[in-house]
Every structure is written in structure tokens, then in C-alpha cells.
């Protein structure tokens, strides 16, 4: 440790090495220190159990807020919510149309699966619903002949040939 020890200093170093290294504590010294730390805010830590309870409550609160925010977001983007909104951009309306169409396909597929063995009229029902939708669109008078084309396009689906495969109705 003492790299620069010299013969010359060995007497001084010997004496310094023999100096006592500790001083006794005064009576009450530890108590005074504890009191000072207490004034500074120490020793007020909560017990492990209460800390665990607080952490659990915080986790539950975070989960609840997250779930609420998630459901709000999901509801805001639901078909019904979007349909009820008046101010949608053209892009949003295209998206809405696509989503409604996809929803229709999924619903028809689901109906067909559920009735495959007990109700052979699944395709008929799906087609009627789609045709009804096309007529409703026509009544609302879409521009550029879209409604008329939609109705025409739907006609063959009303009375299909003998279906050779699973009755999936694509929108």
C-alpha cells in the first residue's frame, strides 16, 4: 500500500501504524443518529404485507384502466359505432363497406356451417339476405348505376344451381 516507504521514514511509519484505529461511541450516540434519520424520513417504510397489497391494487387498477381503454377503442371502431357516425372520410366509408361485407361473409359462412346437416336452405337464406341488402341499396338510390348493377349481379345467386360444394357466399 505504501509504495514510497523509505528507510528514513520507517520510524514515523511504525509509530503511525500503532495508532489506535477506533474511537468509542458515546452513550446515546446511536439513538441520536436514529432520531436524526427518523427526522429525515427514514424508518417509515411500510411493512411487506402492506407493500404487497399496494402493489396488487396498483396492478389491478392498471389492468382495469387498460381493459376500459381497450373496450372503448374496440367499441369506437365497431361497425355499429362507425355506421352511426355522420362525418366519415371517403376512405373510412370504403373501409366500412369492406368490413360490412366481410362481416356478412363470415355470418353467412357461420350460418351455413351451423345448418349444413339440419337445414339445407342455408344458401337460400344467405342469398335472400344479400339480395334484400342489394334491393335496399337500390331503393336508397346510389349514384352511377351502382345500385342497379348490384341488384343484377345478385340475381343468379337467388336460385343457384345444385351447389357442388360448401355454400360460401362471397360478398
Amino acid at each position: 500500500m505504501h509504495h514510497d516507504d523509505t528507510e528514513h521514514d520507517s520510524d514515523i511509519l511504525g509509530m503511525l501504524a500503532e495508532l489506535p484505529r477506533t474511537a468509542p461511541l458515546d452513550a446515546g450516540e446511536t439513538d441520536r443518529m436514529v432520531g436524526r434519520l427518523r427526522d429525515d424520513g427514514f424508518f417509515r417504510a411500510r411493512s411487506r404485507a402492506s407493500r404487497w397489497a399496494i402493489q396488487a391494487a396498483a396492478a389491478a387498477a392498471i389492468f382495469t384502466v387498460g381493459a376500459f381503454a381497450g373496450s372503448r377503442y374496440a367499441r369506437r371502431n365497431s361497425l355499429e359505432e362507425m355506421l352511426s357516425r355522420q362525418h366519415l372520410t371517403v376512405a373510412d366509408r370504403v373501409l366500412l363497406l369492406q368490413r360490412a361485407g366481410s362481416a356478412y361473409v363470415r355470418a353467412a359462412q357461420s350460418y351455413a356451417d351451423a345448418t349444413a346437416h339440419v337445414d339445407s336452405s342455408a344458401v337460400e337464406v344467405a342469398s335472400r339476405v344479400l339480395l334484400g341488402a342489394a334491393h335496399a341499396v337500390a331503393r336508397s338510390g346510389l349514384d352511377a348505376g351502382l345500385s342497379a348493377r348490384l341488384t343484377t349481379a345478385m340475381q343468379p345467386a337467388v336460385a343457384p344451381e345444385t351447389p357442388s360444394r360448401k355454400p360460401v357466399i362471397w360478398f
Binding site: M1, H2, D4, D9, D11, I12, L13, M15, L16, A17, E18, L19, P20, R21, T22, A23, P24, L25, D26, E29, T30, R32, M33, V34, R36, L37, D40, F42, F43, R44, A45, R46, R48
Partner: protein, 183 residues
């Protein structure tokens, strides 16, 4: 109900964790384990102003406890605490100006039967100029390197070495003077 005693052999790391969890007994154990050494070191650094040592020990522990969450255990806890104590003491000495020898008389008188006794040495140390005393105490008593001392004092290693050499010379003169007076 009195809380159960902690086993005395608990290592510093375990006591520190308990203390940070609010365990007062753990702090008491740490304090009583490390304060005697810290107190003696600071007392020597203070020299003639050793009456301030109790305040400085408290300031050191307070600063240490406030920064304890940052203690990573890279150095021994005692070394870490001593470094805080040295810094606190140097600040204190800097703030207090030069009141070097005003309370030297509070030190015990030298023993005539043993002129170069430990008490003579303590008195000689206390009478050294502040910078020399700090260097000799940190290097020759506490085992700090010149690099560490340089960092604490804000001086180059070479300056620390030169100061140590002057301090030892001054100590020798003071002790020889004590011997001549006694004879």
C-alpha cells in the same frame, strides 16, 4: 413487543437491505459496526477541530443513508462510507477557514515518561497544516493511495507525494522537539 435481535454476524449487504426496508435494528447494527473506525479517522482529519467530530459523523451517515440505494457493493461498505466521511470533512474544513491551532490545548498533555508516545504523535498530527495532516492520515494511517488522495483533494498524485514527504518531516521535527524538551 420488542422485535427479535438480529444475528450479529449478518453481513453488511444483508443489513443494508433490511435497513432500506425500514428496519431500525439493522441500521443500529451497521452504525455500531462502522462508526468507531469512521469516528477516529474523521477526528484525526479534523486535527485541532476535533470537537466537531460528532456532527461530522452524523452528516456522513446521513449522506451515506441518502445515497445508500446507489451503493452497488463494488467497494467494501466501510471504504465507501469512509470516502463520504473524508469528503464531508474536507468540505467542513474548507468552509470553516483556518482555525488550526485554537483548540490544541484540549488534547491530552504529553507523557513525560514517554516523550514520543502516541499522545505526542496525535498532538503532532493535529498541529500539522490541514493539507499535510489530511495526506499523512489518509496515506499512512488509512492506507489510501496517492491517486485516491489526489482525487479527494483535487491535486495531482505528485503533489500528494510531496505533501506527504513534508508532513513526515514536520512530524519528525515535532517529535524530536518533544524529546529534547523532555530531556
Amino acid at each position: 413487543m420488542t422485535p427479535p435481535l438480529l444475528p450479529f454476524e449478518l453481513p453488511d449487504g444483508a443489513l443494508i437491505r433490511l435497513f432500506l426496508d425500514g428496519d431500525e435494528r439493522a441500521f443500529r447494527m451497521l452504525y455500531e459496526r462502522h462508526t468507531p473506525r469512521l469516528k477516529m479517522t474523521l477526528e484525526r482529519l479534523l486535527g485541532a477541530r476535533r470537537q466537531d467530530v460528532d456532527d461530522l459523523v452524523q452528516d456522513t451517515w446521513l449522506a451515506g443513508c441518502r445515497g445508500l440505494r446507489g451503493y452497488r457493493g463494488d467497494a467494501k461498505f466501510s471504504t465507501w462510507l469512509t470516502a463520504i466521511g473524508v469528503r464531508t470533512t474536507l468540505n467542513h474544513l474548507t468552509r470553516g477557514g483556518d482555525r488550526e491551532t485554537e483548540v490544541l490545548d484540549e488534547l491530552p498533555a504529553p507523557l513525560t515518561s514517554s516523550p514520543a508516545s502516541m499522545i505526542d504523535l496525535e498532538r503532532a498530527l493535529a498541529a500539522l497544516p490541514t493539507r499535510q495532516r489530511i495526506v499523512v492520515v489518509l496515506h499512512d494511517v488509512e492506507g489510501f493511495t496517492h491517486e485516491e488522495i489526489g482525487e479527494h483533494l483535487g491535486v495531482a498524485e505528485g503533489t500528494s507525494k510531496a505533501t506527504l514527504s513534508r508532513a513526515r518531516h514536520a512530524l519528525r521535527l515535532a517529535l524530536n522537539e518533544g524529546v529534547s524538551n523532555a530531556s
